[in-house]
Symmetry: C2
Subunit: 184 residues, 2 copies
DNA sequence: ATCATGTAGTATCGTAGCGATACTAAATAT
DNA sequence: ATATTTAGTATCGCTACGATACTACATGAT
């Protein structure tokens, strides 16, 4: 008996991808575009880069770079150079991107039929954590659950890159995220 | 708050697809190939056709036809014409295909890290059922859970196409599957 | 019987996803 | 100062995918 959950996951994913293609219609937005935008909508200001998007989805940076260039050319992203490191590029969603996510990102079929997904979310969350840990992937957790997250004078502070954080950043995803060390 | 379960599902699927690509290596087997083979390994003898595979995954028949031709050219499938209907083609896995599934289909990462997936399987099963019903897809259930499944002289019989079935066929997937009518 | 309609499958085209490789430029280490 | 690393891009080859058009067979209507 092969793993039933795996087969179901693959089939559901395949059906949803196909559904998304159909719903995206003339926009030209492919599933991978929407996934990239979804990530960028959640990423903090140190993780809104081509590299990070690729790591998040398990795709190569060369591939992601091309997807992101397409998104910029079509008005879904703004690019900007990092001020202190001339190599890195930051990606910002446009309103057009937010509109696209709002109307396409969980495809209509999901919204109509998925129902209560709390329990499913918990199961997927656990599975993802195990896959990431075992596969050597970055976890991309929220700052406030990170080993390096501290409070200095009452305001959030990242001990890794040693900067204080805007309060709104601490709920966003960070590519440097690490689980807290288990209490001894 | 967008649907967390949906995001997790998409990301897990993306990571697993990428993982599968890497593990498939020089075989040239893409995720869609393995999904098609997985389906065909489970399909009954009335549902092992290009059309059915496409419906199962939500892809067009033209696309599937090309994928399946590739699989045949590379020795993963045998094709044969139906005896009573000259239009339909039946697809049979070769040993090479079974070997490929055995070594690649849940990718190594899944096998090593997925852990207990019983509960996840149940959740995905429920979700899939709702998506299929709402989206107008075929369910592809097992014969023995079908509305048209009967027993004649103790052996399984399909009341839809009006043939008796090999006992081994009743655990396989059928594209004509329909839920039993609710008892009145 | 003929003809229209429907269905299973294939061929072809255009677009895009994807990894691999090679490259540039900026940062960092020695 | 030089070597090495890192973020990102450009290009190539291959394949996935939908759309469209086509063939062959089956079925239904008259």
């Amino acid at each position: 008996m092969t793993d039933r959950a795996y087969e179901l996951l693959e089939r559901v994913a395949s059906l949803l991808r196909a559904e998304q293609r159909r719903e995206s219609g003339a926009t030209g937005l492919e599933p991978v575009h929407l996934q990239a935008l979804t990530y960028l909508a959640l990423a903090n200001r140190y993780s809104d880069t081509p590299q990070s998007v690729g790591e998040y989805l398990g795709l190569t940076k060369g591939n992601m770079s091309q997807r992101l260039l397409w998104l910029e050319r079509h008005g879904y992203l703004k690019r900007s150079r990092d001020e202190s490191d001339g190599r890195v590029v930051h990606l910002r969603l446009t309103d057009r991107a937010r509109d696209a996510l709002a109307s396409l990102s969980p495809p209509r079929l999901w919204r109509e039929a998925a129902g209560d997904t709390v329990r499913l979310g918990e199961e997927l969350d656990g599975l993802l954590g195990r896959l990431l840990a075992r596969g050597g992937y970055r976890a991309f957790g929220q700052c406030r659950t990170c080993r390096h997250h501290e409070r200095v004078n009452g305001s959030p502070y990242c001990a890794l890159i040693q900067v204080s954080l805007d309060p709104e950043q601490v709920d966003r995803l960070c590519r440097e995220h690490e689980e807290p060390l288990p209490a001894a």
